[in-house]
Chain length 208, copies 4
DNA sequence: GCGTAAACGAGACGGTACGTCGGGTCTTTAA
DNA sequence: TTAAAGACCCGACGTACCGTCTCGTTTACGC
């Protein structure tokens, strides 16, 4: 290995400090109360250094989140759809809990308020998560665990919809009981009817 | 008619102008870009008049939304669960679309960023909507359309989860096709297994 | 006297505090080291309040200076040119000294660096001061103390040039000895030759 | 030829580029708008290279100015005070004009704002210029052209005061007409009364 | 019809944070 | 050792809104 770019290299120390401060402050004060100025100050870093690498607070938090997610185990592969799905949802529910819940809620909020960030969040984060679950389901289909008629996209959407609703509405806990109930729900939909969407045509008498 | 409070009464003209300006600006610039100052200016009203009656921008928008919703028809009552549900979801999907989608997304975002508003939004808005759908389902149960084992709370939660996910993630349209698919999904879950949640105990071998 | 403009009136307290802070900080730290932020902080005032009324630091300091100058006595009128002039220059020299020297030097510097401020400083301040001295000289001319040939504009320019050079170059003190010497110089120029400028044509042999 | 210091020698190319860029940018944007960063960028040089050799922007500009002045002819020596003085002032007035005026004004401004630079500017530049004119006058005195009583220091001060005032106040042009008027003025003061300063005691009746 | 009193417009106020600029320093690779 | 490149900490810039305040004005009601 030889030469790199000229100039002083980016400080990994500063990067770490910024990410860590963003996490700490978000969990202490809530996403909405955190400011870039406070992150920089807490990290012992100049504002300019933050703005050089991230365009918004949301981008910092997203990177922090992805960093954590990178340490997570790969897709479960137990050989059976039910156990794969149960394992995946339990793990995902755990990952949506306490140290991350405020981050996730904050990011979804930021995505609604900032068009630019919203676009990247939807494409790089939300879509990617759905895609992962789809892969799990398609693998099951290849094994014969999932009927041809089952709509994997819709099932994945429904799973994350339920998760996000609990993250955002907070009316019920995100626990393993919820994960298991969701597992059963998805299995039911997958097996009983095949694809649920449009499986039953609307009554002709029913107006839009 | 008896005595009112002394002093000049609240100006309905100002109230209307504020609500209308909030709606207009949100749809023009997006919720995140609207400021109270801009609303007041657009409405030809002083900032103080806004703050006298609403604590936050979110409160104004929420009132605007509720005002629109008040004009909506009551719960459908066709005598059958399927048509009731289909009608309800179609109507709700329509209400979550264009003139309101930005408002809803903005309010959900605000609820994540502002603890105080978030509490009232969850209790007064989200819970209330779920409650409405629960009533529809319970009425069906009283008619014998819904098995005793079916978990109305969970079904209602799932319905709104799916709706909100499309509002927030915007990866797929909120159209009647979606409403009908959701209807079928809910009916499947309601009828096939009774209540899906905890209907099937997790395998003992499966760790949390 | 009746109605004023609508809205909350400008706070005289804030105005005073800003002016006073600007003076205090300039004399403590030097014009170049003073920042608008520091002025606002020292005055217990928000930055916005400063920017609402003054475009630059220089404008604040100029107003402070004019405020002091406003308390100064009117043009001397002793009936004789010599004593009028001597009195005027002594007083001006005093006014250019310690509490004001840093202000004047800073303003002249700012006028060189900021085109916009420079224009107003030259027209509203420098020209006005020369004009004042011209009036003194013209009054003397009306009394017969100043020859018709004397160039009042040039004499006034020379007087302020000498003053400003001592303010800026600081190689010699601004004392009454200097004021008197300058008085004599101007009287010499006024009386001996009439107007000094162009009194003697340049030798034709002398190239430009 | 023997050994020089070890390591890479200073780049004359870089020095030239920096000086030239400083001049070009000052004349294009005005002294106050020029930044060291812009100079370095324009010169195709790193900031560090600038800071290695000059402490401030003013120092660069001063060096640029001295470089130009070095090409100027020596003190005029025609054998007569009047023609020497006229020639000197005409040449000085020319040198204070267009390509240099902004530089001079900027340097005088910088001298007021930066104590350190101000000290060196006053001693190395302003005093040196006065000294040069004094030499011219003293040479005339040695020839008998200047009365013993004439105060050469004061005359030199007055000459440069008038010049600087036109540079800074910009109310009148710096042309040869001005140079000649100033020449006449100084000659008048030199010959008529001997030294003007303190030649005439202030009236005892005149208070300070 | 006249005083009391609240709401209204206008707009200045003390704040907080924004995102940018430039200062001067430091750390890398290349010459 | 100098140079180009460029990241770093720092301080200030000027702006945008926040939510509050103080004015003069307007519009109701109760006496």
């Amino acid at each position: 290995m030889v030469n790199r770019r000229p100039g002083r290299p980016r400080s990994e120390i500063a990067r770490r400090a910024i990410i860590d401060s963003a996490l700490a402050l978000t969990n202490r004060d809530g996403y909405g109360r955190v400011t870039i100025e406070a992150i920089a100050h807490e990290a012992g870093v100049s504002k300019q250094t933050v703005y050089r690498w991230w365009p918004t607070k949301a981008a910092i938090v997203l990177e922090a989140l992805n960093e954590r997610a990178a340490q997570i185990a790969p897709l479960p592969d137990t050989g059976a759809l039910e156990s794969d799905l149960r394992r995946f949802l339990r793990r995902t529910v755990v990952g949506a809990n306490t140290p991350n819940r405020l981050l996730l809620a904050g990011l979804m909020a930021a995505a609604q308020l900032d068009e630019t960030f919203g676009d990247s969040f939807r494409e790089d984060f939300l879509a990617h998560r759905r895609e992962t679950l789809c892969q799990l389901l398609e693998r099951a289909r290849a094994r014969g665990d999932l009927p041809d008629a089952a709509n994997a996209d819709f099932l994945a959407e429904l799973a994350f919809a339920a998760l996000w609703y609990r993250i955002l509405a907070r009316h019920q806990p995100l626990d393993s009981r919820f994960a298991d109930g969701l597992t059963d729900t998805l299995l039911t939909l997958a097996t009983v009817h095949g694809t649920p969407v449009r499986s039953r045509p609307p009554s002709a008498a029913e107006p839009a």
